[in-house]
């Protein structure tokens, strides 16, 4: 009862009419904005951050989570209908999803993706429900050295697992750490890198940074990229998969759920990796692998299930350890901080209403997603027909005016534009904004814990290695840091595998 009491109370929180309404609003907004080519979950949440400011914390996070998995599904729609993945984790859906659409089975592909997303997310939420308290109770023993080591490992994992160039990802992360130092030093009160600007004395605000890098950066990039527009959306005839389709896809969904859940917990692009791994597993276990790439329903079901399962389980490190697993989670982490909530092992005990309210909202949100995804297909297609020329200024203005409303500050709007330009340039020069944002939000956690550790350990860095948890984390850190070099030496001149080609492809998304 100790365990189930708060869990059931969480359902009471989410079934509150206001929370339910915001959950619905989040899912719908997420789906609608996520369907726009070029705007994935990270950009969608970043742009819509100001919407959450005047709302209660629980309600705000429920809505953001809704936007998150709504946008995740929105990305699938463009993969199937336009051969244009809305985000990296939907890239593999193109292989069979678009071919299915060309064969007149777009509705089946979208339907199976919706069912798979629901199945994967549900398995993952159940896993989250039982695993999160365990992880949190384990992490309660963490002190400053453990947190410093964990934050360091989290940043490194995200930087090295996601994206193409590891060097550039690490540079982006380090720049994020440097940006996090701007403002008043929490220990000495000294002003750092403010150059006398009062607006910078409290540091760079997270919202303009995320809105600029992900939102305006993407919008500017799309201005340039628009001439590479994809083909017009294909027609959707039947919008619900048959019993035979579901039967054929069910095993792939089962495998995808488990794979996605496990891979999603790991920091660093869990959703993308899990969809790739799921596709590979499905192809390998298929009786006739040659069907893949030619409209195999398992090729849609597996990855779509896996990426949603991973997206949901990536909430585990965020909510229980306070470590975001990827760029999108970093934005949700920032949103939580803005709301005065510090995610971490204390959260379950100190604010069970929020914790279980958010977790349980995912059950409800995914049911809403499943119920609305198919009937709304017609609406999505209409949205896809709206010309990008008209959508671009609308999105830009939403971002700019939204940024102003956060603190009624024109300086914030300027920061959005500046970080927007940085986001665009980073994309052009092959630097990913995800590690930068992640390191930015973890920067103060890392610095404060590192400095506290140094004070406690009297400057002896070897002290990190005498504590079992921090020592283990640092060993993993060294292994992860050195692995690319070791791997490079082992597999020199090997033919570029499909996963690597797709990873390259991610840059275009």
């Amino acid at each position: 009862m100790d365990f189930f009491g708060p869990v059931l109370d969480g359902f009471g929180t989410v079934l509150d009419p206001t929370n339910l309404l915001y959950c619905l609003v989040g899912v719908v907004i997420g789906m609608l904005v996520g369907v726009l080519p070029g705007l994935g979950p990270a950009a969608t949440i970043a742009i819509l951050l100001p919407l959450t400011y005047g709302i209660e914390p629980v309600t705000a996070i429920i809505m953001l989570a809704g936007i998150f998995y709504g946008a995740q599904y929105g990305g699938t729609i463009t993969s199937v209908l336009l051969r244009l993945p809305g985000e990296a984790s939907s890239v593999v859906t193109v292989f069979d999803g678009y071919v299915m659409a060309k064969q007149g089975r777009a509705g089946t592909a979208l339907g199976i993706a919706a069912i798979g997303s629901f199945a994967g997310a549900t398995v993952s939420i159940i896993g989250l429900t039982f695993l999160a308290p365990l992880v949190a109770s384990f992490a309660l023993d963490f002190g400053p050295p453990e947190y410093a080591a964990l934050a360091l490992l989290g940043i490194l994992l995200v930087a090295t697992i996601s994206g193409s160039s590891k060097n550039k990802a690490i540079i982006a992360a380090a720049v994020g750490l440097l940006l996090a130092t701007v403002g008043r030093d929490i220990f000495t009160g000294a002003e750092r890198f403010t150059f006398g600007n009062l607006s910078l004395a409290d540091g760079i605000d997270f919202a303009p940074l995320a809105m600029g890098l992900f939102g305006i950066g993407e919008i500017l990039y799309n201005l340039e990229d628009r001439h590479r527009a994809a083909s017009a959306p294909v027609k959707v005839k039947r919008v619900w998969p048959s019993g035979k389709d579901i039967k054929q896809a069910a095993p792939a969904m089962g495998r995808g759920s488990v794979l996605g859940f496990l891979l999603g917990i790991l920091p660093g692009g869990g959703a993308t990796i899990s969809s790739l791994v799921s596709y590979a597993v499905e192809k390998k276990t298929a009786k006739d692998p040659s069907r893949f790439g030619r409209g195999a329903i398992e090729g849609v079901a597996g990855p779509e299930t896996a990426n949603n399962a991973a997206a949901t389980s990536s909430f585990i490190p965020l909510l229980t350890l306070g470590i975001p697993a990827n760029g999108t989670m970093a934005i949700i982490f920032g949103a939580l901080l803005i709301q005065g909530i510090t995610p971490g092992p204390q959260l379950i005990g100190e604010d069970p209403e929020l914790f279980w309210g958010v977790v349980n909202s995912m059950y409800i949100g995914n049911i809403l997603l499943l119920l609305m995804s198919i009937p709304l297909v017609g609406v999505f297609i209409r949205i896809l027909r709206i010309r990008a020329a008209i959508l671009a200024p609308i999105t830009a203005l939403i971002t700019m005016l939204g940024a102003y409303t956060i603190r009624n500050s024109i300086f914030d709007v300027l920061m959005v534009v500046v970080f927007g330009a940085l986001g665009y340039l980073m994309k052009k020069f092959g630097f990913e904004p995800g590690p930068l944002v992640l390191a930015f939000v973890l920067g103060s956690l890392l610095e404060s814990n590192l400095r506290r550790s140094l004070l406690v350990l009297e400057g002896d860095l070897g002290g990190f290695l005498t504590r079992p948890i921090s020592a283990t984390l640092l060993v993993v850190f060294v292994f992860v840091a050195l692995w690319p070099i070791a791997k490079g030496a082992i597999v020199k001149n090997k033919k570029k595998p499909l996963a690597a080609q797709i990873a390259t492809e991610k840059e275009k998304v």
């Binding site: 628009r226 001439h227 709007v413 092959g430």
Partner: protein
């Protein structure tokens, strides 16, 4: 520019017969072929040098903040460490990028579009506190639709007006925000 102006009209469906028969590997190759040209080693080196300059500035400013000692770290210690990491990684990137330049993409003739977009956004930031958001937003919408998006004069004017009116109704009338406005 001309090419882009024609682009926004709803594109005709591609002849995707070859796509239907493509395996994932072939599709990935197709994408690779369609991808924009890679950045190249010179631009890659240039970006590394910019990062290196940032690292050097970070080191100098951090020293000015007082590093302290490992036992009692001061305000400059952490940014100093981070700047050193940035500097080392920039040097590594300089060496790696010499041969590679595979990440990132070349600037094209369309790269003017984001620059114009950026300029209009800056203009919005400058003008908004002075004359309110309506006129700058109208200008931004019009420029983006007409010249960056290739809309016709009439539709660009009409849609820009509609967009600004809708934003006015949402942000000023309905939400009552304090966004600077004319009326």
């Amino acid at each position: 520019m001309r090419k882009h102006k024609e682009a926004p009209e709803a594109p005709e469906p591609e002849a995707d017969t070859e796509l239907d028969a493509a395996t994932p590997e072939e599709l990935a190759e197709l994408w690779d072929a369609e991808a924009p040209p890679k950045l190249g080693p010179i631009a890659n080196a240039a970006s590394s040098l910019v990062v290196l300059a940032l690292a050097v500035a970070g080191v100098i400013l951090s020293i000015g903040l007082d590093l302290g000692t490992p036992q009692t770290p001061k305000a400059g210690m952490w940014p100093f460490i981070v700047s050193i990491i940035i500097g080392v990684m920039a040097l590594v990137q300089l060496l790696v990028g010499r041969r590679g330049g595979e990440d990132g993409e070349k600037f094209s003739s369309y790269s003017w579009f984001p620059l114009i977009g950026f300029a209009t956004l800056i203009l919005l930031v400058i003008l908004m506190p002075v004359i309110g958001f309506e006129v700058p937003a109208l200008l931004l919408s019009f420029v983006w639709m007409r010249w960056l998006g290739g809309e016709r004069w009439r539709s660009a004017t009409l849609y820009s007006l509609i967009v600004v009116v809708i934003f006015y109704l949402i942000f000023i009338v309905a939400l009552g925000t304090s966004i600077p406005h004319l009326i």
